[in-house]
Symmetry: C2
Subunit: 232 residues, 2 copies
């Protein structure tokens, strides 16, 4: 198909498609006769949908998307390693931590949690730092009640991770071992599951919060005006 | 305290504190004698820690942080309404949806889910649109296995929302009804719980995924090289 049809079928503008081509996110089409008349196939359409999901719904940057796509395309990258790349791509940028001692105490709390749950985690996993940042910030803000529920949070996270990995296994089961399609299916499931699964969980938590908050009722808080709005 | 001490105790640079003062995130200090000698108190320190947590750990923009702080400071805003403001602040920017029909089908799926779970949700909740975007993207990518687990995801989200709201209630219980501190405590818990709780859940899910992925083992995927890396 021509670029105009690729644009129509994907819902991505021609200008954006050309940008993805220039940035190396989308492989070049097959040139026919004139250089401005490249043609594209179904694989381009699928790749374009994946790019839109990662950037538009998953919130990944163009650079992070390129890293993830390169890992998907590399046949030497296995699914477990790819998970690490996907996690690095979605990891929020870190800021310098003001209080090194408090951060180290939070790190110990996180390491205790990992040990308590018998999770096997590589020490340089970006999520270890991410969780430590959150725990340190919560302690600094005096959010001890929420930190007391961290094992409940971890139970929920573990249940969801079970679904995520089950999805990958279900994908793999549709193709016999050794089939070249198998790896591509699995790595695709890992990446999209990490990025889109996170967006799904986040939206569902907000809906469940709204429901739970509505059940408590506004009467419990309205009218009790605060004098110290700094207290968080 | 002077700005230099506020900087030392909060770990935020003097330049950044001045930026927050200019942008209206941090209230001005009390001026003493010379205009460059304003003094700050513990409330400024607490507010600064809250700003750093929202921006640095929660990933909020300065504009979104200002909206959230304005809502916290407004005594007419109750905790349930504030939850909506916090959700809007953390909602990812939306992109135009390419396929309006597919989006509408995804919306029906989301509405069915909300009905099935007997969740009470306002129709304009940003999380409804957010979840619809995710479901539409997953359907377009053929991620039907993960969507089949959406009720399992919703169970986990509901469990976590229970902890979140329990935290708010626990905070409120420390102060008698009618006490002016009560509202400030609750709204603070709602905002920080929404933003930091999300970062905590996200980090825990990644750790649980890494553990689950490691247990499956790399042997299942390595060596099965793909020929169609477009397949996601």
């Amino acid at each position: 198909m021509r670029i105009a049809e690729l644009s129509r079928r994907s819902g991505v503008s021609v200008a954006t498609i050309k940008y993805y081509l220039r940035e190396g996110l989308l492989p070049a089409g097959t040139t026919t006769g004139s250089p401005n008349q490249a043609t594209y196939d179904e694989a381009h359409l699928r790749r374009l949908r994946l790019i839109r999901a990662l950037i538009g719904v998953g919130g990944l940057s163009v650079v992070a998307t390129r890293d993830v796509l390169a890992a998907i395309d590399d046949p030497d990258v296995d699914a477990h390693y790819l998970l690490g790349i996907a996690h690095r791509a979605v990891a929020p940028p870190r800021r310098p931590v003001p209080d090194a001692e408090a951060w180290q105490r939070a790190r110990t709390e996180v390491e205790d949690l990992v040990r308590r749950r018998r999770w096997c985690i590589s020490p340089d996993a970006p999520a270890m730092d991410q969780l430590t940042d959150v725990v340190a910030a919560m302690r600094a803000l005096g959010m001890d009640e929420l930190l007391a529920a961290i094992d409940g949070y971890a139970d929920a996270a573990q249940a969801v991770a079970g679904y995520d990995l089950g999805t990958v296994a279900a994908r793999a089961a549709t193709v016999p071992p050794g089939d070249p399609q198998r790896r591509a299916l699995m790595v695709g499931a890992v990446v999209t599951g990490t990025v889109l699964g996170e967006a799904m969980l986040s939206a569902l938590r907000r809906l469940a919060q709204e429901d739970a908050s509505g059940r408590i009722g506004p009467g419990d808080t309205r009218g009790a005006t605060g004098t110290d709005p700094e207290t968080a």
